[in-house]
């Protein structure tokens, strides 16, 4: 036997010992009180499927954001025309990214052209053959910018809403061009979180068209410049909801972007919650002017196209405070206050993928996963000792160190352990002994050929080596593909499998060999326990 270089056992000791240090907090379920503070107390982070939580993928409808800016452009064009005293027949939105200006015979095209060019730089002007219908469209850059801004603004708004709702360690990130991925671990009430995240929260004040023909509008004849919206009314006695139609002026006289605060109050009479909002100075001035000009008329408070109430304006309201009443539960009022404070989303969002795991299922999964790991491991360990005796014990040491290394690396990388990840670990136990099985079978073969124990060991390891490498590399290839393709839990599985495989090559080939050499050095081996 050649002399064993000292660095080999030292390396194994170091790896094993540090793995043990890093995995102890996880094994004990959190660092114990006596655990020295200078040691890592990190534990393996558990995926949403193990600790419960919400995974949401949503699509920002950026078309709507573009449409909204076209809608704003309509107002701006009107404003400029009025300011410059230009005559025109009409201005309206066309498609999602254009505004049409209809000229009258008394319009001054020359002057208008230069003003449009000056006032609206990020647009392209097209005139039809008659020269009477102009189309002002956003440039592709402007559209792209609007879309991008809508997604970024949505992320900011949602982050602020989630922070106010109180979720620890949320993940909110952009995915692709128009998607947002949200992961909220350890959530007790995913349904509520979803409603807070997904609400557009566009607050608008609109005047009622009291002269308009509501029944005509319900039959489909909506007067120009009007819009038909609905409100829900709850009968206090029966609790039944009824839909109430409202014919409103299309123009939004005041919007929620001028809010500074929103709070939950309780109504004195019915002890029902409502949300009081305060405007900033500009909003307050607008609100005062608006209420002053429209005393006696009704104004609707509209949130996301739903009319919450339409009170009669009794007097001019100074101070910039208003109240949104409706049939809220205290939670709903609280959540509404949150979304109003955080502001509206620049565009509506739709959930396109959702995975919620309740906290109880997460707990069950951890328990069942651990149980199957322990049982599976016990069966393999017992089998190896029965089948390979002394060498089986050697392989078992390798497997245990393998698991320790895997846990330590997962801890250090702060990789997320998922349920398929646990399954990967279980599977790995079965496959980790494979390298040793290959080596041991080879040693047995060499012994049968009449080689001495030492020679058999040498040959066994040497011949099995390339097989093990080839076999493991191909498995690694599939693990890498899995990682590329997979979503959360599947990725976790790929990570566990890859790290475990690499660790198993270290333990099954290197570690067993060194331990074996240490055991047999200085002994005269007549027979191997294999």
């Amino acid at each position: 036997m050649r002399q064993l270089p000292t660095w080999k056992p030292v390396l194994i000791f170091l790896v094993t010992f540090s793995s043990l240090l890093y995995s102890t907090p996880t094994i004990l379920g959190g660092a114990p009180s006596w655990w020295p503070s200078w040691l890592s107390s990190q534990v393996i982070s558990r995926g949403l499927d193990l600790q419960g939580g919400l995974y949401l993928l949503m699509q920002v409808e950026t078309d709507k954001a573009v449409e909204q800016s076209a809608e704003n452009l309509v107002d701006e064009v009107r404003g400029v025309m009025r300011q410059e005293r230009l005559r025109y027949r009409g201005v309206e939105r066309k498609g999602i990214d254009s505004v049409i200006i209809k000229l009258s015979n008394r319009s001054e095209p020359e002057k208008m052209r230069s003003i449009v060019k000056r006032e609206f730089p990020q647009t392209v002007l097209n005139e039809d053959i008659s020269g009477k219908v102009w189309t002002v469209s956003f440039t592709p850059e402007k559209i792209k910018e609007t879309r991008k801004f809508a997604v970024e603004q949505s992320i900011e708004t949602i982050r602020s809403r989630i922070d106010q709702f109180g979720v620890s360690e949320p993940t909110i990130q952009k995915q692709g061009q128009e998607r947002i991925l949200i992961q909220l671990p350890g959530l007790e009430d995913p349904v509520r979180a979803k409603s807070i995240i997904g609400k557009t929260a566009r607050l608008e004040f609109k005047l009622l068209d009291e002269k308009g023909d509501l029944s005509g509008a319900l039959a489909g004849r909506i007067p120009p410049g009007d819009v038909l919206l609905y409100g829900e009314e709850k009968n206090r006695a029966t609790g039944r909801l009824t839909r109430q139609p409202y014919l409103l002026k299309k123009r939004t006289v005041l919007a929620g972007d001028l809010l500074t605060d929103a709070r939950v109050n309780f109504d004195q009479q019915f002890n029902e919650p409502n949300v009081s909002i305060s405007f900033n100075r500009q909003g307050a001035r607008k609100f005062a002017q608006l209420t002053g000009e429209n005393v006696g008329k009704r104004m609707a408070i509209v949130l996301d196209k739903l009319v919450y109430s339409a009170p009669v304006i009794r007097e001019k309201i100074e101070g910039g405070r208003a109240q949104i009443s409706g049939t809220f539960t205290p939670e709903e009022a609280h959540d509404l206050a949150i979304v109003l404070r955080a502001g509206a989303l620049p565009a509506p969002v739709t959930f396109i993928e959702e995975r919620t795991v309740g906290p109880t299922l997460g707990r069950d999964s951890v328990e069942q996963g651990l149980a199957s790991i322990l049982i599976g491991a016990a069966m393999v360990l017992v089998f190896m000792i029965i089948y390979y005796k002394g060498f089986g014990l050697l392989a078992n040491i390798a497997v245990i160190v393998n698991v320790l290394i895997l846990m330590a690396i997962l801890t250090v990388l702060q990789a997320t352990l998922t349920l398929p990840g646990i399954a990967g670990a279980v599977l790995l136990l079965g496959m980790a002994v494979d390298a040793n099985v290959l080596i041991f079978e080879r040693i047995r073969e060499e012994l049968r050929l009449g080689k001495t124990p030492m020679a058999a060991i040498d040959h066994g390891y040497a011949k099995a080596f390339s097989t093990i490498v080839d076999a493991n590399i191909t498995t690694l290839i599939t693990a890498i593909v899995l990682y590329q393709f997979g979503t959360g839990p599947v990725k976790g599985f790929a990570v566990t499998l890859s790290i475990g495989l690499l660790a198993s090559m270290f333990t099954a080939i290197f570690l067993t060999r060194v331990v074996l050499s240490m055991y047999i050095s200085g002994r005269r081996l007549e027979k191997l326990s294999i």
Binding site: D49, E354, R355, S365, Q368, S372, G376, F485
Partner: protein
């Protein structure tokens, strides 16, 4: 202890016709089932909503079906999930807009609560996949399988020879085909997790095949004058004990996972279990004889 005779000289090659017949039968059955019955795609691919709830006491499935039918959801599957209190509800994708679909889970819970003991249910899990995402996941799944096959083809061709690479990939197609066929035949739900398990089966089955191939390569060097039939037989026999032991240890843990891992992981474990069984069979009876066939073709 040895379970398998160390001097086994089973003539696998001469029995290959039998193996071909068996494989062909399994593949044709699988193909037939996939063509005529199709796969029972889970919501990951077809889009839809899955809600898992736990009742305090075992509920009446019929009653659940009745109250849910009032929601008019179209095709609804209601089943027990591992325990009588645990109920899984699968709803196909709705014709309504995505918003209504994403609020569906809430509606289902609200409908179930009145008929539940103590008027409450524990929401265990909700999965909602929009049709767009479903399609993307399908494409990704197919691409993942193709990519891994191609990567393996190159690696094996580089490390061994091209005919080995063909053999390895054909064996993989064989294993995947039969495993997917099983899912079609049993109409078991085909989900993203099952695809992940299939990719793992690829890794495992290949591992087995490579071990045998490695031995064939070694025996080819040792017995230069012998014909390939002898060499392949020798290689398969010499590695037989290892092949079976490794399968056994792997199957042992998979059984533990199947029995104690819980319902959520059940299909994952089942796919692996099947895949490992078929993969073991194919590395002995499919992957190696294919090398022989390809060899004959080449030398002709």
């Amino acid at each position: 202890m040895e379970l398998f005779s160390s001097k086994s000289h089973i003539d696998f090659i001469s029995k290959r016709k039998l193996a071909y017949a068996l494989s062909l039968l399994m593949i044709l059955t699988s193909l037939g089932s996939i063509l005529f019955q199709g796969l029972n795609f889970g919501i990951d691919f077809s889009g839809g909503t899955l809600v898992q709830v736990k009742f305090h006491t075992p509920p009446n499935l019929k009653q659940i079906r009745t109250v849910l039918s009032s929601l008019d959801l179209g095709d609804v599957v209601i089943q027990e999930f591992g325990a009588p209190e645990e109920i899984l509800i699968r709803v196909e994708k709705q014709a309504t807009d995505a918003k209504a679909q994403s609020e569906l889970s809430q509606k289902i819970i609200k409908t179930l609560e009145p008929i539940a003991d103590q008027n409450s249910v524990d929401l265990r899990r909700v999965e909602f996949v929009g049709p767009q995402v479903g399609q993307e996941l399908t494409e990704k799944g197919i691409m993942a399988v193709i990519y891994s096959m191609v990567a393996i083809l190159f690696y094996v061709a580089w490390r061994f020879e091209l005919r080995f690479a063909y053999g390895a990939v054909l064996a993989l197609v064989h294993d995947l085909g039969i495993t997917i066929g099983f899912f079609s035949l049993m109409q078991k739900e085909f989900t993203l997790v099952v695809v992940a398990a299939l990719l793992t089966v690829i890794g495992y089955s290949l591992n087995d095949t490579i071990v045998v191939y490695d031995r064939i390569r070694e025996e080819m060097k040792r017995f230069k004058s012998k014909d390939l039939t002898f060499i392949i037989n020798e290689a398969v026999n010499r590695t037989l004990s290892r092949t079976l032991i490794t399968s056994m240890t792997t199957l042992l843990v998979l059984v533990a996972l199947l029995l104690f891992g819980g319902e959520v992981i059940h299909d994952f474990a089942l796919t692996l279990f099947l895949g490992v069984l078929i993969g073991t069979y194919s590395s002995v009876f499919v992957a190696s004889p294919i090398v022989l066939i390809l060899n004959k073709k080449i030398s002709k």
